[in-house]
Amino acid sequence: MSRITLESKPSDGVRELLRHLLDKGKVSAVLAPRRLDDEGSLDLGFITDRSELDSIDPFAPVMIANTAQVLSMITPSSSKIAVVLKPCELRGFVERVKREQGTLDNILTISCTCGGVFPLQKAVDGITGGMTANYYSDLSSEKIHAEIRETCKACEHFIPINSDVTVSLVGEKDLDENCQIYLNSKSASELLEGLGGEIDKKEYDPAISAGLMKKRLAEKERLFNSVFPGKGGIDAVIEIFGKCVGCHGCSRVCPICYCVSCDFESMNFDSDIAYYEKELSQKGALRLPPDTMLFHIGRMIHMSFSCVGCGLCSDVCPADIPVASVFKRTGDKTASIFDYIPGRDLEEAIPVMVFKEEEFSRFVDE
């Protein structure tokens, strides 16, 4: 499709772009990360007043809430909305749309090639401000920033899939005065007509960020190999999830866990006293509340093939369990048996909704 080049910081360029959309009435509202202070505290702002746009920090390396979940709240929208979001958030939302939890109609998605985000705790502590300078230079030089989350370091989907607008950050030089905006859809081209800047017919070329991709893939392999001590096994699983406090925060922030309320919190899994007595008589001890492993492994069975690796689950875990790494590791495998990439294509059916008459014979005694 086409590319607009602005001689400005990418964040200024995007604010400019959003201002244009609001001023020209091309969108009725903007959903984007908003800076609360200079230390790095953020929230998601849903904005119609152009004066509020100044506080928007579109590429802040923090994920305060998953935009995919938020989008389910505000769609379907009767008027056009511009949304600034990370590639994983967009993929997460595509997965949600497949599950009828919102729609991409009337949404203009603006994303960037993503350098990853800092752990939420660092943002909460207000210390990200000091690290950002370094962050942007690492983007230019295609380095993996040392302070970003483990899952981000291992993410190979940092180039947005299906975004209307892609702002190129990774591998771009002079990010103080170079804003490359790729318009990937017809609607993006129409809406951004008259924005100004230099326009040429160019599509995003993955070669721009190939260096980072290489590093990320290597990091992914390292991470997945190191998540589990040894070959895994029940003891390893217990070691990892043994610290779980049972808050289920991981499922609450998960873009794929769309359920009204989690099945694992339903009465289906309640046991009566007689049952615990029986368990006790056989084992001599029990940990309560029960079913921690059931919850985590069960959740993997429910959603891992759709896991987009956004990392929020790890962010919110009060016990510092590397939930995201473990889930993404398993999710990669469950998705790959179906050749499935979560969020790749809205038309690609969720693996458990369809079947082929001949498949998976290796799993069955025929």
Binding site: E100, V260, D263, S266, M267, F269, A349, M353
Partner: protein
Amino acid sequence: MGSKRNSVLIVGAGIAGIQAALDLAEMGVEVHLVEDTPTIGGRMPQLDKTFPTNDCSMCILSPKMSECARHPGIQIHILSNLKNVSGKPGRFKCTILERAKYVDPVKCVACGLCEDKCPVKIEDTFDVGLRTRKAISRYFLQSIPAEYTIDKDKCLYLTKGVCRICEKTCEAGAINYEDKDREVELEVGAIILAAGIDPFDPIGFGHFGYHRYPDVVTSLEFERMLSASGPMGGHVVRASNGKEPKKLAFIQCVGSRDEGIDRNYCSSACCMFAIKQSIIAKEHIKDLDSSIFYMDIRAFGKDFDKYYEKAEKQYGVKFKRSKVADIIETPEGKLRLRYTLEKGTTQYEEFDMVVLSIGLQAREANQRLSEDLDIRLNEFGFCRSERFSPLMTSREGVFVCGAMNGPKDIPESVVSASGAVANAVRFLDLERQGLPTADESIPEKNVIGQRPRIGVFVCHCGINIAGVVDVKDVAEYAGTLENVEHTEDVMYACSTDCLDTIKKRIEEHDLNRVVVAACTPRTHEPLFRETINEAGLNPYLFEMANIRDQCSWAHMDQPELATIKSKDLVEMGVAKSRGLQPLERLPIEIDPKALVIGGGLSGMTSALSLADAGHQVYLIEKEDELGGNLRNIFFNFDDKDPQVFLGDLIKKVSRHKMIEVLKGAEIEDISGYIGNYKTSLKAGSGKEGRLLDHGVVIVATGGEEHKTEEYLLGKSSRIVTQVEFERMLHEKDFPAGKLKNVVMIQCVGSREEGRMYCSRICCSKAVKNALELKKVKSKTNVYFAYRDIRTYGFSEKYYTELRDEGTVFLRYTPDSKPVVELIDEDVTDSRARVTVFDPIMDRDVVIDADLVVLATAIDAPEKNEELAKKLKVPLNADGMFLEAHVKLRPVDFATEGVFLCGLAHSPKDMDESQAQAKAAASRALTFLNRKAVLAEGTICQVMTDRCSGCSYCESICAYSAIEVDPEKLVAVVNEALCKGCGACVASCRCGALDLRGFTNQQMYSVFDSLDLVITEKVGD
């Protein structure tokens, strides 16, 4: 004159009578079931197991007996006989004589105290004299009705005026010595005779020493010995010394295939009966040596040959082709058999016990019935019926089924019974039935919100369960489980008294859930559900634990572990039952139209029966002509021309205003469910596609002649199949003017690897054609190369006739098949040299044949597979359609509303195809004659507040029974379409769906309750 009656009188309450009664009652017809003995059930209750599945005979029969007794439309007249019939079909006037019972059936509680005290011992007819009973007794322990009766010829008071002990014993005051015989007048539209058959009495067979040597027994006696509920509790011992026999012999054809005693027919069932008994006996007695002495093994039914193979190869039963001359008891108490082999050599062998496989013979009572009712009997005293009207008697409106018109096994009896019903309905005033109105007298108890109060009943099933599992221990264990208010062990949970006990316990203990640990829910769940319903509980408050089929039978050598497993299964059942909720069933409307697939003899017969009963029928035929395989049949044993019959049939079908014949039709797709099917026919070659709505489907797709090149078929015009030969005979156009030698080779493709079944009709067909050949060319030498001659039933006499004509019979075995060579390879009509090893002469016989006729097998059409998929019905290993139950549901599929008949089921003769076609029609009528049936209660439900509207369920449901409501954004179930499979429930991530009767909570509680730490004691 008056209109037709909507009632039928059935004579005889064996399995045939019962089946006919149930079919009719389902159609809303009033039935009078007239039975000579004090119970319904007939012969089946005497049997231990049934071939070829080794199903427990009583287990499969008893639900039907109970259903019969419970059905409001069936009136049972025990100790009764039909005396006189006047009037016309549609409005017969019948007189039945009900003999005095001397016990008031209303007051009798069948406690059995009277029998305990009665001083008069008499021979027990049910146990064929192997034990005694009293003058007041119950016919057998599961008899229906359960009430006792007095034998007036034996009772001391009734004969000599003294005693009256039973009267004093009976606390219920049920004894009534003043009871009188009475005549009952009934008006019925039609009469069905199902008076059964008798076993041959070998008392005159002195050379076998029956009654002289205690260890010579009849097969029926042996069956009672094998039966767990029999006089020996299933433990077979020699009467002479009380020890287990180690060596057992069966002598076949005792009273069958014997011109000398006027039994020139084959009893059809005895070969399989002996094979079954030898298998079961080997299961009972370790290292038993068992031999069967026979002339031909006639394993001609569906899957029979596989059973025969299994007996020989797997169980090591010895089959000895020979004639037994006599039996002599040795001084050591052994039985010495003298027998002659085929070769003519005489041999001797000693046995511990000999079973005489007695034949079946016409009942003496047939004679009287024939006179009273004015119906004709055949030369052997069986009720006479014709090949093209196999279920009709010589009197209009009077039909015959079961073994009364010829020896039959159980499924054939069931088929003929349903078939007779299809004939009878023509004389009835059928009316489509509405839904049964709920029985207001038993209001359903409201159990919602109540704490579970569970009753557990653990069944012994004779020794089927109790022989392995410690039933009392299991019952006691059940009593320790939470919410279990009552537990008890019972002998036969399915017997009417036990069902009454269950009802009583529900009252006594205010039970609101019932668990029965017994056989399999597949056969018995409906019975128990109905039972608790009769006690005011919703039928879904019932759960079953399968401790027989999947426990005691599968773990016979591990009684301790089997007992532990039984406890687990009971505990799991109890766990599940806690979560059971009352469910409702929705009515499903029935479209009264039928689709019949296949326009051969079977299809046309079915179509005609349905149309005559007033229902619209679509008859589809893949070819452009009706008739199927019958078009190739020109001769019949009894001179009637099959082609004339076929012509008439086609005319009737084509002209019937209720039948639409669709020729050259191909099915595109079949969708829907019972009562609401939609079938689309392919468009093409000038035809428009069609979409047919119908309520039921009958599969009558027929069979195909086996294609082969064996025996050089196709290499010379003188090597032909029996089908081709029959046409030659008909057209009197043979490939050679002179037919000096004709060789017939049997079992071409049948009974061998890949087609391990008998094609059933080839022996009779070959005999028939050979006789026809003899008529036109009397000097021709006919050679008959065979493995076993299987001219079962009344075809036997034609085999005898052919033998008497001088035909040479040469028996071959599969490892020394006949060899056929062309004499002149260069011509297309070469004569053939056939070499057959003759075991009688013990050498090869070489015949230069002018014609070789091959009896090629009957194959299942390949297209069966496609149709089976469309209909969602199964095929057996041979590609033939597989019925719901080989014994008692021979024309039904497990899928409701789909039926089968004819060669699609298995190879069979014309009369058998017709009977089955009528049976399929009758079974279909049980649905078509109702405006609606009730859907299952186990269907999906949505917990709306948990539903996220994600549409997983919608994409998964194969029936489009669940959809996300576009307004409310939550899933909604179409309860009429839901089949209750639970596929959507398991797909629901949110826990918003559940399957009634199999809820998530129930399922979790079931396997959570499983005790997982089990250790087996080893050593002591």
